[in-house]
């Protein structure tokens, strides 16, 4: 299967290599993403999980180059079908955004422009990337609205965002993102602002459309439940770095990083309903004041001296996934060290 999903040349759809993204602030340079690498294959779903400030959304925005004005990619490559897009001009990026890769955001309440109709905003996405006439764009918009499960699309076309519910607006966002049939959909916390029943519907919709349109999804979330439902591969981030990456099974059943283990301990489950949950002690790291060693060190129960002093290298685990934790070196539980450019 894996081979079928690769295109003929064997080049992966999207490859992020040693990505560094930083923000210039009054208090100095903030390194929000610090050497992140991962690969996304066609039609697959990659989950990026981490807490607030871990750099997961910034990674997503870096791919689209829609960072705030003070943010920039300082190092690394982003290869789309083998071509580095970090050096693209703004014009080239405008062609990439929405056509090759789309993104939906956390808060559907504020992500749509309040003064334009739904129809106007979706049609705009079509008109930018095709030579369709306004009439054709309207037809395509209505078809897309039907596809994302909006009832009475003719009427919705003329409505304004404030006339729709949160769940509907997220469907609109999805319709807008997918209307040019991109290869990649980035979903940045797509369900965080929605209530649980709507959340499930939106995730199902995304999976259904993934099948229909054969697109790859990058889902960014702090919700391990969402990740478990959606992702083939998972990247766990902390303090702008990747702690651990592997398949969903690797991450959930054989975590090899203390942070991932901590995350899994803090999820309530049916079996341990009566047990007290174990939270991860301490607060998220201050990116302005990064420690010399492992970013998670200060909150880690098993921290050692070396954790304070040196950033752990990425290690290949015996089962084939990757983790950056000194515990594995101590326990000699790894196969090899991975260099940054892989």
């Amino acid at each position: 299967m894996a081979d079928l999903n690769k295109n003929k040349s064997g080049v992966p759809l999207l490859q992020v290599i040693d990505l560094h993204t930083s923000f210039t602030t009054d208090n100095g340079e903030v390194q929000a993403v610090n050497g992140v690498s991962f690969t996304l294959e066609e039609g697959k779903t990659l989950g990026i999980v981490g807490e607030s400030g871990s750099g997961k959304s910034v990674t997503a925005y870096s791919i689209m180059q829609i960072l705030e004005k003070n943010g920039h990619i300082s190092q690394g490559k982003i290869l789309y079908k083998g071509e580095d897009i970090t050096h693209y001009s703004e014009k080239q990026m405008q062609d990439f955004r929405g056509k090759k890769c789309s993104i939906i955001f956390q808060d559907p309440m504020t992500s749509l422009n309040p003064v334009y109709t739904i129809g106007n905003q979706i049609s705009e996405a079509i008109l930018i990337h095709s030579n369709k006439t306004k009439e054709q764009a309207k037809e395509a918009t209505i078809r897309m609205l039907e596809l994302v499960g909006i009832n009475d699309p003719q009427k919705r076309f003329k409505q304004y965002p404030h006339e729709l519910s949160g769940g509907m607006r997220q469907r609109i966002m999805i319709a807008m993102a997918l209307v040019s049939e991109p290869d990649i959909l980035i979903a940045d916390e797509p369900t965080t602002a929605l209530d649980v029943t709507i959340q499930a519907q939106i995730l199902e919709l995304m999976q259904e459309l993934q099948q229909k349109l054969n697109m790859a999804i990058i889902i960014v979330t702090h919700d391990l439940g969402v990740i478990a439902q959606m992702a083939d591969e998972i990247v766990v981030m902390y303090g702008g770095r990747i702690c651990e990456r592997g398949t969903a099974d690797h991450i959930f059943y054989s975590p090899a990083h203390e942070y991932t283990k901590g995350l899994l301990r803090s999820i309530p489950s049916v079996e341990n309903m009566k047990q007290k949950l174990v939270p991860i002690a301490g607060t998220p790291i201050n990116l302005l004041n990064m420690p010399k060693g492992c970013a998670f060190c200060a909150r880690c129960d098993n921290a050692m001296k070396i954790c304070l002093e040196e950033v752990p290298p990425e290690l290949k685990m015996p089962d084939g996934h990757y983790a950056s934790c000194w515990m594995n070196v101590k326990n000699n539980n790894y196969v090899s060290e991975v260099s940054a450019n892989e």
């Binding site: 689209m64 829609i66 703004e90 405008q94 062609d95 990439f96 955004r97 929405g98 056509k99 789309s102 993104i103 955001f105 808060d107 504020t110 992500s111 749509l112 422009n113 309040p114 003064v115 334009y116 705009e124 996405a125 930018i128 990337h129 304004y160 404030h162 966002m173 807008m176 993102a177």
Partner: protein
């Protein structure tokens, strides 16, 4: 919509009536009268005049008579000139509205453009330059600015006439600039603030993520949202600026509404004071209504009824 309009118009009539009532009694409460300054009026002449204009009656009766005349659109005649007030008012308003209309147009166009530029070049030299001038024009009183304009352009550079009786366009240049300076500065600052706010909204990121060009992100997605606060200001501004500025009209010697209003007060020209007040009140109420409707046009979230 029509229900809303009817409600607003009824409310407008009520507020104009209240303004009228207060003005009428306040005006009469002030000591003195329209014929006090006249020379050589014998008591007999004065008594005739007082009777002729109903000024010998109690104030409340005068008020009722005035209202009765008003319902027939009869504003009376000026106590000073003896001319029909409606004629004088419309002449004055035409002059003020012409200058004011151009000034308002200039203020909105230039203000929005400069505001948008300041927002886009935030903290760089165009922004700093624009904000320096807007601060200057907000702070400088109009009589200083108007006098300065006269001094520089008419006297030192000799580019424009200080005073001209012919209706040439050059006559209006300086008054328009003087009138437009403050609202332009204000609209610039307003646009800058709301533009910065709009540009930081999530929907701007959405638009960029769709692949919308930078120009369209700014002019389609940000500017329309940024204009909402500007519109709230433009309504009352139009009312002020169309009805003429006392200072500017006096300095440039323009026979507009502002000048007329002040003259009528110093003359105790009661019918003229009343008519001007009603006129200003009606314009103010109309412009507010207009800006509320404009509000609805630009922002679909606003419900009028």
């Amino acid at each position: 919509m029509s229900k809303y309009l009817i409600k607003r118009i009824l409310l407008a009539i009520l507020s104009v009536f209240v303004i009228l009532l207060i003005t009428f009694f306040a005006m009469n409460a002030v000591p003195g009268g329209p014929f006090n300054s006249e020379k050589a009026t014998t008591p007999a002449v004065r008594a005739v005049l007082m009777e002729r204009f109903n000024l010998d009656k109690p104030v409340w009766q005068q008020f009722l008579i005035y209202i009765r005349n008003l319902t027939r659109f009869d504003f009376g005649v000026s106590l000073k000139t003896g001319r029909e007030i409606s004629g004088t008012l419309s002449t004055c308003f035409a002059v003020s509205a012409k200058i004011g209309g151009i000034a308002a147009f200039v203020a909105v166009i230039i203000g929005v453009i400069l505001g948008a530029i300041a927002a886009l070049f935030r903290n760089r030299w165009p922004d700093r330059l624009i904000i320096f001038f807007t601060t200057l024009f907000t702070a400088m009183p109009s009589f200083v600015f108007a006098t300065l304009l006269l001094m520089v352009f008419c006297i030192q550079l000799g580019l424009l006439p200080v005073f001209s009786t012919e209706a040439s366009a050059s006559k209006y240049v300086l008054p328009v600039i003087a009138l437009a300076a403050y609202p332009t500065a204000y609209i610039t600052r307003l646009t800058k603030t709301s533009m910065l706010d709009a540009l930081s909204q999530d929907y701007i990121r959405t638009a960029r993520a769709k692949g919308v060009t930078t120009r369209k992100v700014i002019f389609k997605h940000a500017l329309r949202n940024a204009l909402i606060p500007v519109i709230t200001y433009v309504g009352p501004m139009l009312a002020y600026i169309l009805t003429g500025s006392l200072v500017v009209e006096n300095i440039f010697n323009i026979g507009g509404l502002g000048k007329q209003f002040v003259q009528s007060i110093t003359n105790r020209d009661y019918p003229m004071i009343m008519a001007t007040t009603i006129f200003l009140a009606v314009i103010m109420v109309l412009m507010n209504l207009l800006s509320d409707i404009m509000y609805k046009v630009v922002d679909p979230r606003i419900k009028l009824d």
